[in-house]
Amino acid sequence: MANRLVSPIVWQRATVIETVRETPQARSLMLALPHWQRHRAGQHVEVRLTVEDGYQAQRSYSIASPPEAPYLMLTVERIAEGEVSPYLVDVVQEGDQLEVRGPIGGYFTWQASQSGPLLLVAGGSGIVPLMAMARHHALAGSTTPAHLLYSARQVDNIIYHAELEQLATEDQAFAVFYTLTRGAPPGWAGFQRRIDLDMLEDVGWPPAQHPLIYICGPTPLVEAVATMALHLGHAQGRIKTERFGPTGGS
């Protein structure tokens, strides 16, 4: 079997087997790869696009599917004027091929065997790798208590909304909290402001319980939340961040 192990860094031709519109800005792509190694929740892949004249653009995209899934799922949010994301969100069709390499990364990953309650904090498309963790949590039958705090602009921008509701109902150890930063519909029960210290303290775990904290999304949100977590007394070594850059509205 050893000869079937492919270096994670070799470019492969992935075939788009299905696309799912998640929000007006985001779409999921289900990919089949000729050689796929089981990944860890939190890892990403790199996608490379080549245009006619040979120019190439390469971007990182987190893996949304759990290690248990038989296919690879990415979810991409469109950045207006972006080079790569509008193509992945609006142009690519089922049957098309994409150059992909991965799974990549080992630092921002979570496995059901890890100890400590879990606090996941997502801004915008930063939900993607945390969704892989939430799905892994449910599929692995983890009893580690996990809370997800998800900041989005408006209710329509919440990616995986229905599935998150379902996970929160079916996975006894998982709860989800939303905050909307650009207005909420009538009767909205979640938060309606940017993430702040009070909110983080409300939905998080006391530092004495040594939670593992994963924060992912646009760089300004990630840095603000990481600073708050330190301020609340959480240990630096228990806080892991994944900055997406300026992208990923929250």
């Binding site: 790199e46 630092y107 994944e242 900055r243 997406f244 850059g245």
Partner: protein, 92 residues
């Protein structure tokens, strides 16, 4: 440098994997300037077309610079005191 463009060392995982045979974001780097030890994945990157520079999150000292040319990788680790790689055969 535009702070919103900062990324984590994790974003260089693919590039580092082109050079090293182990997954490198879990490796520990000790800063040659302030002595802080962090995982490569926790270092700070400013994306730049000139190459990738991974900096100490405590003091911003450049610890690892990688420039890829058509034929070579140039790796400058003079800012780091030491890098501890723990092979994780299950990780990629």
């Amino acid at each position: 440098m535009d702070a919103s463009r900062r990324l984590d060392g994790n974003a260089a995982a693919g590039l580092l994997r082109e050079i090293f045979c182990w997954e490198m974001t879990s490796a520990a780097v000790t800063c040659g300037n302030c002595g802080a030890t962090n995982a490569v994945g926790a270092l700070i990157i400013y994306a730049s077309p000139m190459g990738t520079v991974l900096r100490c999150p405590a003091c911003e000292q450049p610890l690892v610079r990688v420039v890829r040319t058509s034929n070579d990788y140039w790796l400058d680790i003079s800012g780091a005191r030491c890098i501890q790689v723990t092979p994780d055969t299950a990780a990629t």
